[in-house]
Symmetry: C2
Subunit: 152 residues, 2 copies
Amino acid sequence: MPLPERFDAGLYFIGHIETPWRDRAACPRNARESDAVCTVVVDPRWAAALAGVETCSHLLVLYWMHEARRDLVVQVPRRHGTARGTFALRSPVRPNPVAASVVRLVGLEGTRLSVVGLDCLNGTPLVDIKPYFASTDAVAGAVVGWHATPER
Amino acid sequence: MPLPERFDAGLYFIGHIETPWRDRAACPRNARESDAVCTVVVDPRWAAALAGVETCSHLLVLYWMHEARRDLVVQVPRRHGTARGTFALRSPVRPNPVAASVVRLVGLEGTRLSVVGLDCLNGTPLVDIKPYFASTDAVAGAVVGWHATPER
């Protein structure tokens, strides 16, 4: 699938993420498979933007899956053998490899946030940190049909 | 706050979002304030990536808040009079103005998705569509302390 010839917008990496996982094969399959404490490190340039973050129990962290190719529109997920569209998957491989993970904040020291709930490579670039609002972000009854149905 | 001199990564706009709101003042304060049906329009280039999306009850939509400035690290939220750090807010104004909204999928025709749960401007560029997994994305008990505490 040929990618567009040029980008439409630019991102700044605002920091990076420190995790125990040094290659993709070692990463957990999803963020609930590990309770490892990871560290979200914000560049000093943005330190003032963290004021108030300490009052949040959970955060939505956006990061850049820098090792992922961007040109696949259909993929076969690791444990479900049927090909699916990229937008029906949480695979890192997508046109814009921006991941969104809900993390639990367990500590904040200066510009270093200790969190539980990440599954990415050590050194992953950080794109954004947002407060997680249960009122708008939590939908307990949501269903992903293809995933809920066992493969034959 | 001076921004970095260059970008670290590039985004492709993969489509756009059609909403009833033509200027920022008209937008709902958050996505649960309106039950308007909006349309997420995916560019034909990515049509195949939608296979399987129709089985999802809810999606996580990432989009680009193209009218937002990017240089504020501290802001006063509209209805809470105290200044907070950008990363403690869901304001569109942030170093990387990528919004993340949980939407309910109510229809899919070709590359047009009808959804409920957006609060953005008409014409907002689309960055990504992901399946919403309650198992990892829903945290009903999450608290944003500064928001839960009434202003004096």
